[in-house]
């Protein structure tokens, strides 16, 4: 028999029993749609994550970090390291980051900021909501993350508005003055350096005065307030009422001996309180500006908090970076560069490595989701098998007649397999249409609620082309597998059925 004839006869038979065919196909439609939609959720989430990392250039970046300031044996990162890395093959550029943490006050509130000194290139890609980008010239100016405000604590009441009432304190970084607290320097003392230290210290003291005069112009009230806090604290201690009065005590990030320095805010990152981006909780400034700020505040031999010291506890002459971002020309070369950096003994990791891990995890998620969807498909397969068995019982006589007229056993099997395959195929096609509809609705209504962390306009459900093809092939195969045993049964029916007269 010709394949076209087999297909035509199968379609005719399906058409003859429209209602039953439609109902069976419906089962496959639901089965296909449940698998496809489930998988599309996993794929959509992965896609969103990949896009986020990819758009930040994460796939071609290697992060080199050093925990030397916390006392580990990590190699230090400085300008020499940058030079070494820059000369490596495939490396496009190396961008250092310097992190300096300090408490700050603004209005009646205070908080703790991680100030990240970055290159102008990095700085310029941070989306700004208000203000402008700072540069390396003049006084250091910073960009405040849009969610930094949420960490603010009221100095007088000790209230943490975001935590307690979910409301952000009414603070405007752009207009209100901000004061940072610098830890008083610890000076490395060595006998042969005494004279130098003394002069440095003298210089520092002068600087201190200068600075305090500077900011006292606009920030008198904060100063006096915090002074009051501090004196309250010491009063309590004197009165020895450690527990009863505890609730009234206000913990402050500032210690008495901290140096108060005005911080100039240049801008705030894009987004409101509920929009999270990777910049939201940090403050940023130009790395050169941060360096000169720190050099201005701390004398040569003093230990800058967060900076490593050598074995004898002596600070290094130059500032050490917290991390370096090594930009590689292509994602394929990341592995090579990563290896050579690690060979040199540095702590380094690539987003790509991490992404591969994530990808593995997503495969598990997809397998689980797909498995849930597959239950519906299993039911559909049973329904196909049932329909085919019914159909074969009904057509016992017809099959007998065909056998008497010389229809090959293989052809009979093919006819029924084709019929079952058609049910699967049709179900697959319609199921995909349904899947696209559901996917569209999910992306339109559910994604904005669940996926805001990944930015706006992100899809929760994605149906790639391979999934479309795989769904059609799979549903057709499921149909044929379900139809196999009924078809086999049809070939075994006796041709005598044609002779019998009911």
């Amino acid at each position: 028999m010709r394949i076209s004839d087999i297909l035509e006869m199968s379609l005719t038979n399906l058409w003859k029993r429209k209602m039953r065919t439609v109902l069976t196909v419906l089962g496959v439609v639901i089965g296909t749609a449940s698998i496809v939609v489930m998988l599309s959720l996993g794929l959509g989430l992965k896609q969103a994550m990949m896009d986020q990392v990819g758009s930040a250039g994460g796939l071609t970046e290697i992060l080199v970090y050093s925990d030397a300031m916390y006392g580990s044996d990590d190699l230090l990162l400085d300008d020499k390291t940058i030079e070494v890395f820059s000369e490596m093959e495939y490396v496009e550029n190396v961008q250092p980051q310097l992190i300096y943490s300090m408490p700050f006050q603004i209005g009646n509130y205070e908080g703790y900021m991680d100030l990240v000194g970055v290159t102008p290139e990095y700085l310029s890609q941070i989306p700004l909501g208000q203000g402008e980008y700072p540069d390396s010239k003049g006084n250091m100016r910073i960009i405040v993350g849009n969610q930094v405000v949420m960490s603010l604590v009221n100095m007088t009441t000790g209230e943490w508005p975001d935590f307690e009432s979910g409301e952000a304190p009414n603070v405007d970084f752009m207009t209100m003055p901000m004061i940072g607290g610098l830890e008083v320097e610890e000076t490395y003392e060595a006998d042969n350096d005494v004279s130098e230290d003394v002069t440095d210290n003298l210089a520092d003291i002068n600087e201190d005065f200068a600075v305090e005069e500077d900011f006292s112009l606009g920030t008198d009230e904060f100063n006096s307030e915090s002074d009051e806090d501090d004196s309250d604290f010491s009063d309590d201690e004197l009165d020895r009422e450690p527990y009863d009065e505890w609730e009234d005590e206000v913990y402050s990030y500032f210690s008495n001996d901290m140096k108060r320095v005005p911080i100039n805010v240049a801008g705030v990152t894009e987004g409101d309180l509920n929009t999270y981006a990777e910049y939201s909780y940090y403050c940023y400034t130009d790395i050169e500006a941060l360096k000169s700020f720190l050099k201005q505040q701390y004398s040569v031999n003093s230990i800058i908090p967060g900076q490593p010291t050598d074995r004898s506890g002596k600070p290094y002459r130059d500032l050490k970076y917290s991390q370096l971002t090594v930009k590689v020309d292509k994602a394929d070369n990341v592995e090579t560069v990563l290896e050579s950096i690690q060979m040199l003994g540095y702590q380094a990791e690539a987003q790509k490595e991490w992404l591969e891990e994530i990808e593995k995890e997503f495969m598990i998620i997809e397998a689980v989701l797909g498995g849930i969807g597959a239950v519906a498909m299993l039911v559909a397969a049973i329904s196909i098998a049932n329909t085919m068995t019914m159909s074969i019982y009904e057509r016992t006589k017809e099959i007998g007649v065909m056998k008497v007229l010389g229809c090959g056993l293989g052809n009979i099997r093919s006819m029924f397999l084709a019929e079952a395959g058609f049910i699967g195929f049709l179900g697959g096609i319609v199921g995909l249409v349904l899947s696209y509809t559901i996917s569209f609705l999910l992306n339109k209504f559910l994604a904005p609620m669940l996926m805001s962390d990944y930015g706006s306009n992100v899809n929760i459900s994605a149906i790639p082309l391979w999934l479309v093809l795989a769904a059609i092939v799979f549903s057709t195969i499921v149909g044929m597998v379900a139809g196999f045993f009924p078809a086999q049964r049809a070939t075994r029916l006796s041709p005598l059925a044609a002779i019998r007269n009911e």
Binding site: E398, M402, G406, I499
Partner: protein, 288 residues
């Protein structure tokens, strides 16, 4: 014709068995009825005793069909022997339960005999498996059913063309050939009609055309007029007679009706699984 009786080995069940004879000579004189290997050749006496040059298309030898019903054995066929010759219209007549339908089923390869041989066109069909039987029917046999058994979803033309479909013949060609046969049975204008739009007589004529469409050597008809009234039955029988005469087909028909059997060349009467009478009227018909 002479046989070398010196080499006669033994005789059993109306068959001569002998060895070591001049094979070539035997083959030329007894074409189509020699079987066995060179050392052990069997010659069919029925074939031998028909010396008018007709070829036996169907040879049935010592055929038994025994059904087990509980502990009882029912002998549906209890040792049947006969030949059907090329171009012959053979009627198998018997009452219900005589075993005539069982005989036809076995001739068409729809049932396996318990014992015995069926040789059609030189092929032992009792030894074939189901695939071979289907292929055999596809290539050699046309079948007419009592209840017509047309496919309800197909029109007359498509029904007639169906056996050609199984042979893998392209649609255009098979519809053309089917149309020719519909014309032959006088149903040209009903080509587009579904079975339920036609009378019983018309349906059976479509069945006839379907059996003829593959140009088979042999046609089997199982009570072809069983579902028809007497007038239509008469027409049907005449059509079958005409086809046998004009198309030189061999036709084996099963019926319970003696009057219908009268039109046949040979009538085999079966009672309780045995042939009780074998009327060969071929010579008479030829004389007519």
């Amino acid at each position: 014709m002479s046989l070398d009786y010196d080499s006669l080995y033994y005789m059993e069940d109306k068959r001569l068995k002998f060895t070591d004879s001049s094979n070539d000579q035997l083959e030329s004189t007894l074409a189509g009825v020699l079987y066995g290997d060179k050392k052990n050749i069997e010659v069919d006496l029925f074939a031998v005793d028909n010396d008018d040059g007709r070829k036996a298309v169907i040879q049935v030898r010592n055929l038994y069909k025994i059904y087990k019903v509980g502990t009882n054995k029912v002998r549906a066929l209890n040792g049947v022997d006969f030949n059907v010759y090329e171009g012959e219209f053979c009627a198998i007549v018997g009452t219900s339960g005589s075993g005539k339908s069982t005989l036809l089923n076995m001739l068409a390869g729809l049932e396996k005999p318990t014992k015995g041989e069926i040789i059609i066109d030189g092929q032992h069909i009792e030894k074939m498996n189901e695939n071979q039987l289907v292929k055999f029917r596809r290539e050699n046999v046309g079948f007419i059913f009592q209840s017509f058994n047309l496919i309800g979803t197909m029109n007359a033309l498509e029904n007639v063309a169906l056996p050609l479909t199984f042979r893998g013949i392209p649609k255009v060609l098979r519809l053309k050939r089917a149309m020719k046969l519909l014309r032959l049975v006088g149903l040209k204008e009903h080509a587009k009609h579904r079975p339920n739009q036609m009378s019983g007589g018309q349906q059976q004529r479509v069945g006839m055309a379907r059996a003829l469409v593959v140009n088979p050597k042999i046609m089997f008809a199982d009570e072809p007029t069983g579902n028809l009234d007497s007038r239509t039955s008469k027409e049907m029988m005449n059509l079958m007679r005409e086809v046998v005469n004009k198309q030189k087909k061999t036709l084996v028909m099963v019926t319970h009706d003696d009057t219908l059997a009268a039109i046949a060349d040979k009538v085999i009467r079966i009672v309780d699984g045995k042939i009780v009478a074998l009327e060969d009227r071929s010579t008479k018909v030829m004389e007519d």
